[in-house]
């Protein structure tokens, strides 16, 4: 839409700030060496199987079940993290209460805690003889560790800070003027939240959802301890990759890796489009 408009604009800007060549060179070299060339290997390796072999290797029931589980659990975890992350961000930005600074710092904890440590700790907590698992089992008969529910909890832990930290700055920027204006115009509090606050937060929420999902879908270290790892039931796709590697099936392992990458990309692309539509509708 804006191509014809952008061109002269770009031409004016192109030479405005010097030093582009060197910086771009560094960025491109760095990107190629660390990310692009390695991913090229992932892209090419599966085709050793041939197209038919590749398709067969990806449509095995166990692979399909693992992919379904990984993407389902990651989407569910990101969806659960959405209200929780919003809650945390809202409390940290809008409210003043004892322990607020501590809560603010704690949000980043999943970034800092090594994933394997988080996995062991969560398993210890949620297993039927753990601090949390024991009462849940006794009161409700719930089993969380070693079931898909345990996977969702671990992924929730991993995804939560992404959503809280993406929403937080937007919420801070938003200020209260718009809300106050809405109130002056006679809107109820609920109407204000729904018509003013939520639309303003929606793009950030979507971004956070995307980041949290992307991080969760490939998570390995924290899930492997708590999952139970039953084929067809609680076996995640990254585990299946390592299993194939251990059977010396490099191409098969890379095939699952490639499939995960493409599926994750499709989800992120869909989110991106949704976000663009949201922005347009809002503007």
């Amino acid at each position: 839409m804006s191509a014809s408009l952008a061109l002269p604009h770009r031409a004016r800007r192109l030479r405005a700030i010097p030093g582009f060549g060197l910086a771009f060179g560094i960025a491109l070299f760095w990107l190629s060496a660390i990310v692009l060339v390695p991913l090229l290997a992932l892209l090419l390796r599966p085709f050793e199987l041939g197209l038919v072999g590749l398709w067969a290797s990806l449509t095995e029931p166990r692979v399909l079940a693992a992919l379904r589980l990984s993407f389902g659990a990651a989407l569910l975890a990101a969806a659960l993290a959405l209200p929780l992350g919003l809650l945390l961000a809202w409390a940290v930005v809008r409210l003043r209460f004892p322990g607020r600074a501590l809560l603010d710092a704690a949000i980043d904890l999943p970034f800092a805690l090594p994933t394997a440590v988080a996995g062991v700790a969560l398993t210890a907590l949620l297993s039927p003889n753990g601090w949390v698992g024991a009462p849940l089992a006794a009161l409700f008969g719930w089993r969380i560790a070693f079931t898909p529910a345990g996977i969702v909890v671990a992924l929730l832990f991993v995804a939560l800070p992404f959503i809280a930290r993406t929403v937080e700055p937007v919420l801070r920027d938003l200020g209260r003027e718009a809300e106050e204006a809405a109130a002056t115009l006679g809107a109820t509090r609920f109407q204000t939240l729904r018509r003013v606050v939520l639309p303003a937060l929606a793009p950030a929420l979507l971004t956070g959802f995307g980041l949290g999902f992307a991080r969760a879908v490939g998570e390995y270290g924290s899930v492997i301890f708590i999952a139970g790892n039953m084929p067809m039931i609680s076996e995640i796709a990254p585990l299946l990759i390592t299993i194939r590697l251990e059977q010396f099936d490099y191409a098969g392992a890379a095939a699952i890796g490639l499939a995960m990458l493409l599926l994750a990309f499709a989800v992120l692309l869909a989110l991106n489009l949704a976000q663009r539509a949201l922005r347009r509708g809002w503007a």
């Binding site: 095995e60 398993t123 297993s127 790892n229 084929p231 251990e246 010396f248 099936d249």
Partner: protein, 334 residues
């Protein structure tokens, strides 16, 4: 581009780099033993013994490095270039896989006595004290309400022995082995990737009624976690597990460690090496020593992989490869 990092941070970066310079003395020869999970304690002891012995005989200081992990994963690491001088893995199949890539001579299994397995083990049941579910033999495992803990045969060497022992028993009892294994694995609530993970699930997390484990692993768990809670049950029939050892020829040649590597493996067959094996609950090859410890290693009927399954290549293809019998167990609709 350094100035993008503040000076203080640069000093901080430099400090650990200096600390990390390897404190490797001149003239120390190194040997890397790549092994599987349950042998950590065994090889920590044995390596110390070997270093002393070599020092006394050759006036050379040797440093033995150990790497442990799931047997299959370790084999893959060697195939991908981990510079192991010797491998001591859970099963011959994993050594064969390395040999197939040309890193070990194809006839490795005949180069050392007794199938290149200096000690053996078998599969036993580790159960809760008092045997509340009355588990004595393989058929008891599939009684309703019994939860079984075993690692995944796809990723764990020990689990493959578990699986094959169960198969052999079902055949002996005249049951359909595939049907029996299907029932058994449907009663497994947690399928860890390695033997150690399963032991933790069983003992620490309190999962399941019985752990199918290496004999040595069961004894070690008993020792570590107290005999007050756990008991070992020897089923009437099990499998003779022969963990294989081999010199990785390509690496030993390249690194000039062949003499060390061969001495390291041969020493496992010597009396002192056999004693270390006994100490860590592996069955020694030395008949007299085995008889002396009959209390610790009660005799039981043992089938062999060659006798009952036609060798590892055959067993692997039939049972554990993609689309094999094990995969069929988890096919939906059964």
């Amino acid at each position: 581009m350094r100035p993008s990092i503040p000076a203080g941070r640069r000093a901080f970066l430099a400090a650990p780099a200096l600390l990390a310079l390897p404190a490797r003395a001149q003239g120390v020869r190194e040997l890397l033993n790549v092994s599987y999970d349950p042998t950590r304690e065994l090889f920590r002891d044995y390596s110390a013994h070997f270093v002393r012995e070599w020092q006394a005989q050759h006036r050379q200081t040797v440093r033995v490095n150990n790497s442990h992990g799931g047997s299959g994963r370790q084999a893959r690491s060697v195939i991908d270039g981990l510079a192991a001088d010797v491998v001591t893995l859970a099963l011959a199949y994993d050594v064969d896989a390395i040999a197939e890539r040309g890193l070990i001579a194809k006839d490795w299994i005949t180069r050392l006595p007794q199938n290149s397995a200096p000690y053996t083990s078998t599969i036993v049941f580790l159960i809760r004290k008092g045997n509340p579910k009355g588990l004595r033999d393989w058929p008891d495992l599939v009684k309703p309400g019994v939860a079984i803990i075993t690692p995944n045969p796809k990723t764990s060497g020990g689990a493959r022995w578990n699986y094959l022992a169960a198969w052999a028993s079902a055949k002996k009892h005249g049951q359909d082995p595939e049907e029996f294994l299907g029932r058994l694995f449907r009663q497994v609530p947690v399928l860890d990737t390695g033997a150690r993970g399963s032991t933790t699930s069983f003992v620490q997390r309190g999962q399941g009624d019985v752990l199918l484990a290496w004999e040595n692993e069961a004894h070690l768990a008993l020792k570590e976690f107290g005999a007050g809670q756990l008991e070992i049950v020897y089923p009437p029939l099990s499998i003779l597990a022969e963990p294989s050892v081999a010199v990785v020829d390509a690496n030993a040649e390249r690194r000039g460690t062949r003499d060390l590597a061969e001495a390291y493996l041969r020493g496992l067959y010597a009396p002192a090496g056999q004693e270390v094996a006994v100490k860590h609950f592996y069955r020694p090859r030395d008949e007299a020593l085995l008889a002396k410890h009959a209390q610790r290693f009660p005799p039981l009927e043992l089938v062999t992989i060659d006798g009952a399954f036609g060798g590892w290549a055959e067993a692997q293809r039939t049972h554990f490869s993609d689309g094999g019998v094990f995969d069929r167990i988890y096919r939906p609709g059964r």
